[in-house]
């Protein structure tokens, strides 16, 4: 179901497994930001199985690329990817959102291996990324800071503070990905607070910016590669247009909502849908 032309069969399989992990976690709690997890799974597959350098057995390895989850409610998606990457044991999936679990519903740095920041309060990640990127440059490191945030976070003034600071300090070691699924708490993001034309705005703010279909693995791979290889001393932004619920047709079609309700019997149906869409 991941819209790959077939060149990225391995990534498509990774994305399938990330989606599957996320649905299984959603079933544990009977809820969760599952529609977001499904929309961002392709980006996470490319991040963790194409772009990022890391050691699964040593999540704090100095030589890793940093990955910041600014939209902490996407934790269910990141846990799913971290499990697929071998950073979190797959058996912890059963603990998602439970007491004493390392997998709280909102991502927090102290709880989870591979979780670089505490989210929950939106709009923090880019600012932390600015400091990490400055720190890596100070250390002479060639590692990068990847930061994922959501289109709703564009409403936060602090995000634009960080966008200005990253350009001012020429932080070409930041690759930010904004998930434009056009859905936030009170409705479609573009109606809650307009942010278009987003590419023009970001370019005007001094960022090397690409806009891609965030559910097209080939396009996402190209965008990550271009962000990495770009020559100018500018921070890099990937605007990823995604589809809420991607990969589970009945969730894709469901009336759009920030927090999609999934009935108890539907988790199994969602897994079946993912299996049906899995590339042979």
């Amino acid at each position: 179901m991941t819209a790959s032309t077939g060149h990225n069969k391995e990534l498509a399989e990774r994305a399938y497994r990330i989606r599957r992990n996320a649905v299984l976690m959603g079933e544990v709690q009977g809820q969760g930001y599952i529609a977001q997890a499904l929309d961002i799974a392709d980006v996470l597959a490319v991040a963790y199985f194409h772009a990022l350098r890391y050691r699964p057995e040593d999540p704090d390895w100095e030589g890793r690329d940093r990955f910041l989850l600014s939209n902490g409610h996407y934790a269910i998606a990141l846990y799913a990817a971290l499990m697929e990457a071998g950073i979190i044991p797959a058996e912890e999936l059963e603990t998602y959102g439970g007491d004493e679990s390392r997998l709280p519903m909102s991502g927090m740095a102290a709880y989870t291996p591979g979780m670089e920041m505490s989210g929950g309060s939106l709009g923090l990640g880019l600012s932390i990324a600015v400091g990490m990127a400055m720190g890596l440059k100070r250390k002479g490191s060639d590692r990068r800071v990847y930061v994922l945030f959501s289109d709703g976070e564009l409403d936060e003034g602090s995000v634009w503070e960080a966008i200005m600071a990253a350009a001012h300090h020429k932080l070409d070691n930041i690759i930010a990905i904004v998930d434009v699924n056009n859905q936030q708490a009170d409705g479609p993001s573009t109606q809650v607070m307009g942010f278009e034309p987003l590419v023009d705005r970001l370019e005007a703010f001094g960022w090397y910016t690409q806009r891609v279909d965030g559910n097209d693995l080939d396009a996402v791979v190209k965008a990550f590669d271009a962000a990495r290889d770009h020559g100018e001393a500018k921070p890099r932004m990937i605007v990823a247009d995604t589809l809420m619920g991607k990969g589970v047709p009945f969730l894709e079609a469901r009336e759009k909502n920030h927090f999609i309700r999934v009935e108890a019997h539907e988790w199994k149906l969602a897994l079946d849908a993912l299996d049906a869409g899995r590339l042979a």
């Binding site: 927090m108 740095a109 102290a110 670089e116 920041m117 505490s118 929950g120 309060s121 923090l124 880019l126 600012s127 932390i128 990324a129 600015v130 400091g131 990490m132 990127a133 400055m134 720190g135 890596l136 100070r138 250390k139 800071v145 003034g157 602090s158 503070e161 960080a162 200005m164 600071a165 001012h168 300090h169």
Partner: protein, 337 residues
Amino acid sequence: MTKPVLTSSGKPRLTTSAMIASIAAEGQRTRPAPFGHALVAAAKERPEIVGLTADLGKYTDLHIFSQAFPDRFYQMGMAEQVMFGAASGLAAEGFTPFATTYAVFASRRAYDFIHQTIAEEDRNVKIVCALPGLTSGYGPSHQATEDLALMRAIPGMTVIDPCDAHEIEQAVPAIADHRGPVYMRLLRGQVPVVLDEYGYRFEIGKAKVIRDGTDVLVISSGLLTMRTLEAAAKLATDKVSVAVLHVPTIKPLDTATILTEAGKTGRLVVVAENHTVVGGLGEAVAALLMRNGLSPRFRQIGLPDEFLAAGALPTLHDRYGISTEAICNSLKAWLAG
């Protein structure tokens, strides 16, 4: 002080109601920019120290550091949120950021960033803020009357309210050595020197008796320790004996020393602070005493729970009861009552 400058109409030009009016009294010994010079000294020992400011380097004395270590200084623009978030990121990469602005902007505008990206993530960031309490005549926008209450409410935050240049010089290397987030109030510019005469040494988490006395125990921090020492000297000529317990670390509180001193019977206990009476050292001490079954006569010297006026600092300090004269009057009245 030098001869007053006259305006074109022949009146003395007011110099005390500016945004960053000096708190030094006429003739008082001062040292310039103690924070900036102490940070330069600490940074020579510790290459991991970096400095950040939100367009207030000159007004937090961080310019001394930025001149000495231009490549270790980050100008973040007039944007406190990204400054504290970036400080968190630098700390995550192993650096020890000293981030400066005015106390109002750290404690009010950027509170969530300090709470979430620094304290909750336990990042080793030093937040150093000028214009604490009522040290600006500019009005409530610049009067950080509630910063200690806000900062001490954050789990894991060490909160320091130093008295003078002597203490700031010692506190800077101490907080650089300390692992964990710190909020420190900053007196900047020409900063009075007082505590060196008492052989005082700053230690994080330690309250110290600066002066002993039998009639009243004043438990104080920051600027109000300086003022209380002046008041104590004046009252001594009236045969009023004032003890001063200086508590520069608001959190964690030196509970043992406070309980020992407040537990000595027969003394009026007064907490004096350059801060609203809501949620600062006064209420922290009151709760501590109650929890431990101590009930001495207790009074607070502090700023009222209201938005303070703009004006000349000496006038405002008199009006709100934190000038030396006002402290003398309060103590005498309470002892008489």
